[in-house]
Structure formats: structure tokens, C-alpha cells
């Protein structure tokens, strides 16, 4: 299992993120995608206009292989977990076609796959021992599982998940 970081040189519109995710999830070896970016608030949280709705045009529900995913960030980085390195060239091709402004691709390890003390405190030993290994590191103490993680079913009955940070 390897991880690839895709780092476009611009922050992406929701439309481009949607296209990118759809193309990435059609690859066979992709298991998980973590979307990293700048949070887009629903309401103004500070100052004289506090409480006014922001209505950011990039905070919307996108469709990834039929699953509605609410984008709460402006995507700037993707961490893609792959089964093996056979399709890295395909990822490069996708990036080339979608990011004309430039991008970086890096193969490495970017997320944790081992349980930590925090997990034991948060979920308890039994849940940690039972839970799916691919979910480790996907929930952080301040986010809810339902709003942060989306499971996108694969045709062959496998599951892949996507997370926003």
C-alpha cells in the first residue's frame, strides 16, 4: 500500500475537484482519497457581520460516482492511498489534463496506519480492535464521522472512502 500526494499549484474550484475525484475513483488501485484544503465557513464567524451567511460558491455538494459529497473546503491537496504503484502514470495523466497551471506529485507516506493512544481514548479498545484498518486516522476529535467521511462503493463490491479536512 502506497500513498501519493497531489499538490495542484492553484486552489481548485468545486467543479474541478468533482472531475478529479471522479477520474481518480475510476482507477482500480485507488482505495482512499483525503481532501485537504482551506475551510469555507457557512456563516461569517467574526467581526461586525457575524452570523451573516457566506454563500461561498465553492462550498457545495458534488457528485462522486453517484454519491453526494458536501465539499466544506477549497481543495488544495489530495492524499491518495493506492494498492500498488501500477497506476501512478494514470494519475499523472489525469493531473496533466485537469491542472494546466501546474502540480506536484510525490510518492510517500502521509497518513498514519497504526492506532495511537488517542484512538484508544476516543473509541475504546474493543472498537479500535474491530474497526476497519482503512478508517484509522480518518476521524479527528473535532469532526463527526458522517460529515467528514464518505464511502464511495466500487463496482466490484469494494469500498473506498474519501475524507475532507
Amino acid at each position: 500500500m502506497i500513498e501519493v500526494e497531489v499538490f495542484p499549484h492553484r486552489y481548485l474550484k468545486a467543479e474541478t475537484t468533482e472531475k478529479f475525484l471522479n477520474e481518480i475513483y475510476s482507477l482500480d488501485t485507488v482505495e482512499r482519497v483525503i481532501i485537504h484544503g482551506q475551510p469555507l465557513p457557512k456563516t461569517v464567524y467574526y467581526g461586525p457581520a457575524r452570523g451573516t451567511p457566506v454563500n461561498h460558491s465553492e462550498r457545495k455538494v458534488i457528485n462522486v460516482h453517484g454519491v453526494p459529497v458536501e465539499l466544506t473546503v477549497m481543495a488544495g491537496r489530495f492524499w491518495i492511498t493506492l494498492k500498488d504503484d501500477s497506476e501512478i502514470d494514470r494519475i499523472e495523466e489525469i493531473c496533466k489534463s485537469l491542472f494546466p497551471f501546474g502540480y506536484n506529485i510525490k510518492v510517500g507516506k502521509f497518513t498514519r496506519d497504526k492506532v495511537t493512544v488517542t484512538d484508544y481514548i476516543k473509541y475504546g479498545e474493543r472498537v479500535v480492535n474491530m474497526m476497519d484498518r482503512s478508517l484509522i486516522g480518518l476521524t479527528d476529535p473535532r469532526s463527526r464521522f458522517e460529515s467528514a467521511v464518505k464511502i464511495i462503493p466500487k463496482e466490484k463490491g469494494e469500498e473506498a472512502s474519501s475524507k475532507e479536512q
Binding site: R10, Y11, L12, L40, Y45, A49, V54, S57, G76, F101
Partner: protein, 260 residues
């Protein structure tokens, strides 16, 4: 004044641009014409056409104790009228914005009277009597080459974005999306005022400058444009100040300054 101000050291284009900003005799290139009312709307302190609110009666009508400083210093027009003090705040992207906070502070100090300015890493606020502020905001801060609609933002609160990558249209990230890029006209429209309250009608602030032009007029040293290390004169001045402060700060003897 007994000496001619040099404004800023350095031999590169960036240093030259900084000198141009600070020198009050240099007229910066006028690039756009935003109507007065639109600037007032973006600032959001009063409705266009509304009278200026005052915090004290006009100075002439006031019975003030005698003070010779008052005779020496001529008050600015807003102070004479007793107008309120209001603010406008700018954020400048690190992607070759024409100005940056320190440059802004020095420029305001050199060019204007009656201004109180605050410098932070990502934003720069000016406080001034309302009527004078509006005049400066329009005629200098927005209409000239001191501003670019894409990489400068008028942001009163929630300023985050100056150190981030630009978005796909080349605009600086703004969590509150105060301005949007109109893909048909290729102009930037302000849809909210500087604190994030929606405007009735969008305000057009014109077309973003092309990246080549920005690289030419910027005052930011960057490795992909002109790096600071290329400016040997500036480096020598910075080193001199550093040496004088660290070695001579508490013991300013002649010996320390001998080789400077």
C-alpha cells in the same frame, strides 16, 4: 529639511518600486476609475450620499485651551469638521502583490497626514478621519498601481489568504468570498463590503493585471522574480543595522561602528 530623503536602499527593480511608492513626488500610474459611491459601499461605514457623522463640533467653534502646538500643526480637513475616525484594511498576496504591509505603512507615513496605520503580517489597516480616508482610499489605494483586484483584497475582518496559493482564476483565497471573478467580462466584482455584509449591487473593480505586469510593479522580493540576495546594496544596509543593534545596542562605543 537639511538632507534629501533616500526612502529605501537597493539597486534592484523591487527597491526602485518601493522608493516610488514612498516618494510623495512620484505620481503612481492610474489604472482604474472606481466611482466614489462604490468605494463608500465597499468600506461600509456610511450609505452613499449620507452626511458624515461627527464626534465633536468643528474646531473653530470649540473653546479650546491655549496650546502652541495647535498653532504649529494645521489640522486636516476632517479633523476641522470633527468627522469620525474610520478604517480601511487591505490584504496583499505574496504572489507579487503591488504593495505589502511594511511598504504600505511607510508609504502612508510619507504621503499622508493625520493617518494612523497598523501593520500585521497579513493585513494593513489605516485609520483616519472618514472624509479624508475615503479620498485616499479612492485616489491612491484603489485607483492606482498600488492595488490589483486579484492579489489585493479589501478586508476588514477574516483576512486569511495572503500566504496561500491563488485560486484557479488567479484570485487570492477569501473564506468570505467578498469578491468574485466574472468569467464573462473577466472583471473582479465585489459582492460584499469589507466585513462581509452583502452589497445590494456588485461593485466592479476592473480587470486583474497580467502576471508580467505584476512582476514588474511588485515590491516583494521573491525567488521566482527578483530574490533579496541579488540586492547587494540592500543586504549591506540590513547587515549594518543588524550589527549596530546586536553589538552596539547596549554599548554604543566607537569601536563597534568603526567598520560599519
Amino acid at each position: 529639511m537639511a538632507y534629501t530623503p533616500q526612502f529605501y536602499p537597493g539597486k534592484t527593480r523591487i527597491a526602485e518600486n518601493r522608493r516610488k511608492h514612498m516618494n510623495p513626488d512620484v505620481q503612481l500610474e492610474k489604472l482604474r476609475e472606481i466611482p466614489d459611491d462604490d468605494v463608500v459601499k465597499i468600506m461600509g461605514h456610511r450609505q452613499p450620499g449620507e452626511d458624515y457623522k461627527t464626534v465633536h463640533p468643528p474646531l473653530e467653534e470649540m473653546d479650546l485651551p491655549e496650546d502652541y502646538v495647535r498653532d504649529l500643526v494645521e489640522p486636516i480637513s476632517g479633523a476641522k469638521e470633527g468627522h469620525r475616525i474610520r478604517y480601511i484594511q487591505f490584504t496583499d498576496s505574496m504572489y507579487n502583490a503591488p504593495a505589502q504591509p511594511y511598504d504600505r505603512a511607510r508609504t502612508y507615513m510619507w504621503r499622508f497626514r493625520g493617518v494612523d496605520t497598523g501593520t500585521l503580517s497579513g493585513r494593513q489597516v489605516i485609520e483616519m478621519r472618514e472624509s479624508n480616508l475615503e479620498e485616499i482610499a479612492k485616489n491612491f489605494c484603489i485607483d492606482t498601481a498600488f492595488f490589483d483586484p486579484a492579489v489585493c483584497g479589501i478586508r476588514g475582518a477574516t483576512v486569511h489568504g495572503h500566504s496561500l496559493r491563488l485560486d484557479e482564476n488567479g484570485l487570492m483565497f477569501d473564506a468570505l468570498q467578498r469578491y468574485v471573478y466574472d468569467e464573462k467580462t473577466e472583471h473582479v466584482l465585489y459582492v460584499k463590503d469589507q466585513v462581509g455584509k452583502p452589497l445590494d449591487e456588485p461593485v466592479d473593480v476592473g480587470e486583474p493585471l497580467p502576471p508580467e505586469k505584476l512582476a514588474e510593479i511588485t515590491t516583494i522580493y521573491r525567488k521566482d522574480n527578483i530574490p533579496m540576495r541579488e540586492d547587494t546594496e540592500l543586504i549591506s544596509v540590513v547587515k549594518r543595522i543588524h550589527r549596530a543593534r546586536t553589538l552596539g545596542g547596549y554599548m554604543p562605543t566607537d569601536e563597534i561602528f568603526k567598520e560599519l
